[in-house]
Amino acid sequence: MQIDLRTVSIKQQRNTFDHLARRFGDKPASRYQEGSYDIQATENLHYRPTWDPDQLIYDASITKIVMADWYALKDPRQYFYNNYTLARARQQETAEANFSFVESRGLADMLPDELKQIALDVLVPLRHAAWGANMNNSFISGYGYAAIFTQACMFHAMDNLGIAQYLSRLGLLLGDQEALTEGKTAWLDDEAWQPMRRYIEDCLVVRDPFELFVAQNVALDGLLYPLVYERIVDGYLSAKGASAVAMLCQFMNDWFDETRKWVDAVMKVAAAESEHNRAILQEWTEKWSGRAAAAMLPVVRKALGADADEVVGEEVAAFKARLKKVGVDI
């Protein structure tokens, strides 16, 4: 028997789960709240890790940053698995359409050789940098504290992998498998890429999750994305007629625009927590962004030549202004 249950009006017994009522009051909770707050075990952890008996399984003290409540690091996008995945699936459809537009119209072959070469030289080795970013965010997600922060890092890690794969496809489209081989050789041996590779490899041995967040997501990406995708791809290459390359990079541009809001929010809340945090964040940001700028310079030179110093200088200034807004003055 099929009963029409919609018409029954029955009284709810409660609005939400206890832990959410304690945080937000006795009212219905959003799906973001239900899926993110307090879902990591906090008490009565059973065993210490055999891989490092000085740590707890979930340990807030492995970073120098101190938060009274790590769940304060809210994601302004309020991403949980569902809306994150749907957002990326939509962007992926656009990216797919862009790739097939460029491919079906033979736009890659119409690119002037010189511009095509610049695109390959600058973009293809970055697939390895994006893979490094993926490992770093996987680390932050794995060892960071509180789901609200660490789930966003895992989403970020998967985005980094997606970007590495778009860059690989770009390489294949513009220069076939040889382009990937050459890009990897450059990444490993070309002098211009070594400061960048060294930066990434130095990140791979940082085991303070919040410092790694600053090194990778704040400092490096904060300079790399504006310089590569805004200045070189959208600015220089498009102006010279290589807008097909910009089409293939749309995902990266949109992505940086979106994710920097999250990165800024994390920094802002962590810095506002205490002077202790602010001082550490300033120290880390200063140290890593200085190195990131130096690592970017020879890469930017590949496209912009003598203008590179000036452009990097401008973007460093913009970066400092951005960080100042979130309370980190360098």
């Binding site: 009963i3 029409d4 249950l5 919609r6 029954v8 029955i10 709810q12 017994q13 789960f17 206890d18 909770a29 799906r31 899926g35 307090d38 879902i39 990591q40 075990a41 906090t42 009565n44 952890l45 059973h46 065993y47 055999t50 891989w51 399984i57 949980f80 698995y81 569902n82 995945t85 749907l86 990326r88 699936a89 992926q92 990216a95 072959d109 390895h128 893979w131 490992m135 996987s138 680390f139 997600s141 794995g142 060892y143 789901a147 660490t150 789930q151 890092c153 895992m154 890690a157 992998l161 794969q165 496809r169 294949l172 990897k184 990444w187 490993l188 060294r198 490899e201 791979l204 041995v205």
Partner: protein, 506 residues
């Protein structure tokens, strides 16, 4: 302009290799040991990470695309379920106990697994392995979230769901899954893969999600079926990862065999103990039954597990040490577990009950060798006490197994009339166990297991100091609402009244 030469279309395997495997490089500014510091100490030898086989070659574009499709379907169904009072479609409010256990005990484990796989996604030195682990990490976040979201609407109408986050950390029966996942997370990367990838995914999730979820469908719960099957579609990938990982370790070096076998022995038994809960849910908590725990075990344990171990025999792997003891326990464990839950139901945030005459008939048909002989008389005895107005409550403190943390309620493998208890002395302290399996696990790693948090001992420490009311407060259990016999509970009354309202014309 020259005609462009049509580019050779890459095969799935080639594409995956270029888009994933080829992203990695051998670091030179830091050594491999510095970058991957945890892959040595367990003693597993890997000579060539490139030999790793990726069974599902998912790139992020397909991952996002297919997962988004699953997500759209899932949320459409649970939205409709909430809007249409879908909870009134379930066969019987007793069924809710299974969902309460699920949310308190299983969903937090999904999250923990996700955390562990984020770590593995970083700690393994092979891109293929890392990516598979990372995808599993966000999948597991997905499972925790879809489960919470599906059960959120039940929480609005029924008791026992509201404090699942508190229960996860403090409730005595939640320490069973918690200790399982904490054990895995505190292990090295390779053991973690056996614990979760193999034991939990390959041996357990089929039993957890497949027959039980089919049972949820049979009991009118579309929200649960949907999260169950939707999650399980990811688990198929996870199981395959677990299996690949075992094969990889065994193929890389013959010296890995004894280590891997030891972990299989350990984690099979850990997993099997955890399954006691699932067996009880299937045999007792689904008002309409699809299959018994025994039948499910025959399909997914004996048949499927058997096939797996026959397959692995070519590497020298034998079935897990506890396999025979497990088989001997199958026809007993759900009954013993449910009897224990019933006796301690003043301390559970879900209801239990004495099975009806009908249900006992079904149980005796499904368990012809054991039910009438051992368990029907005990239920009959409990019925008599209840009818006399003196329902039995076991206020004595249960002795917990130091390893699996289940009260020692299971019987000797070869004697269903005596409780199985084992003891080990370590550094002057006595430790208790429910079985040979759990005792062996302890004795192999005593320094780990002496750290276990034991909820019964907590009862006598501050702030509780042996006061039951204070304990209930501490675990956020509301007496008279969340706990006790289903018979006479608020959930029973409300469900009946709401159903009545729905089926009559007021």
């Amino acid at each position: 302009m020259d005609m462009q030469v049509a580019k050779k279309k890459l095969s799935l395997k080639e594409k995956y290799k270029l888009l994933t495997r080829d992203l990695g490089w051998d670091t030179t500014y830091h050594t491999k040991d510095e970058v991957f510091p945890y892959v040595q100490y367990e003693g597993i030898k890997i000579h060539d990470w490139d030999k790793w086989e990726d069974p599902f070659r998912l790139t992020m574009d397909s991952y996002w695309k297919y997962q988004a499709e699953k997500e759209r379907k899932f949320y459409a169904i649970i939205d409709a379920h909430a809007q249409n009072n879908g909870h009134l479609n379930i066969t019987d409010a007793r069924y809710l106990s299974a969902l309460k256990i699920f949310l308190q005990a299983i969903s937090p484990g999904e999250y923990a697994a996700g955390k562990g796989f984020a770590r593995m996604g970083r700690e393994f030195p092979g891109v293929g392995t890392q990516v598979a682990c990372q995808m599993q990490s966000i999948d597991e976040i997905r499972h925790a979230q879809t489960q919470i979201h599906a059960l959120s609407n039940y929480n609005k109408f029924y008791n026992g769901f509201h404090a699942f986050a508190d229960a996860r950390d403090r409730m005595w029966y939640c320490t069973l899954p918690r200790s399982f996942f904490d054990d895995a997370l505190s292990s090295g990367p390779f053991e973690f893969m056996i614990a979760i990838g193999f034991s939990f995914e390959y041996v357990l999730t089929n039993l957890l999600f497949v027959p039980f979820m089919s049972g949820a469908a049979y009991n009118g719960d579309m929200a649960t079926v949907t999260f169950g099957f939707s999650a399980q579609s990811d688990e198929a990938r996870h199981m395959t990862l677990g299996l690949e990982c075992i094969k990889f370790m065994l193929e890389q070096d013959p010296a890995n065999l004894p280590i891997v076998q030891g972990w299989i022995d350990k984690w099979f038994w850990r997993g099997f103990r955890l399954l006691g809960v699932v067996g009880t849910m299937m045999d007792y908590m689904l008002p309409k039954r699809v299959m018994s725990w025994r039948e499910a075990w025959n399909i997914y344990g004996v048949e499927n597990g058997g096939a797996l171990f026959r397959d692995l025999a070519r590497y020298g792997i034998r079935p897990p040490k506890g396999w025979d003891d497990a088989e001997k326990g199958i026809d007993h464990m759900s009954h013993q577990f449910m009897l224990a839950l019933y006796q301690y139901n003043f301390g559970t945030a879900f209801h239990s009950w004495i099975p009806s005459e009908d249900e006992m008939e079904w149980l005796s048909k499904k368990y012809p060798e054991t039910f009438d002989k051992y368990y029907r008389p005990r239920w009959a005895h409990l019925s008599k006490l209840k009818a006399a107005g003196t329902p039995f409550a076991n206020m004595g403190l249960a002795k917990l197994c130091q390893t699996c943390q289940i009260p020692t309620v299971f019987t000797e493998p070869d004697d269903p009339t005596s409780i199985c208890q084992r003891e080990t002395e370590y550094k002057g302290e006595k430790y208790h166990f429910c079985s040979d399996g759990c005792q062996h696990i302890f004795e192999n790693e005593p320094e780990k297991y002496i750290q276990a948090w034991l909820p019964m001992q907590q009862l006598f420490q501050a702030p509780i100091n042996g006061d039951l009311g204070a304990w209930m407060n501490w675990v956020s259990l509301i007496p008279g609402k969340d706990n006790g016999d289903f018979d006479g509970s608020e959930d029973e009354r409300n469900f009946a009244a709401w159903r009545q309202q729905a089926t009559s014309n007021q």
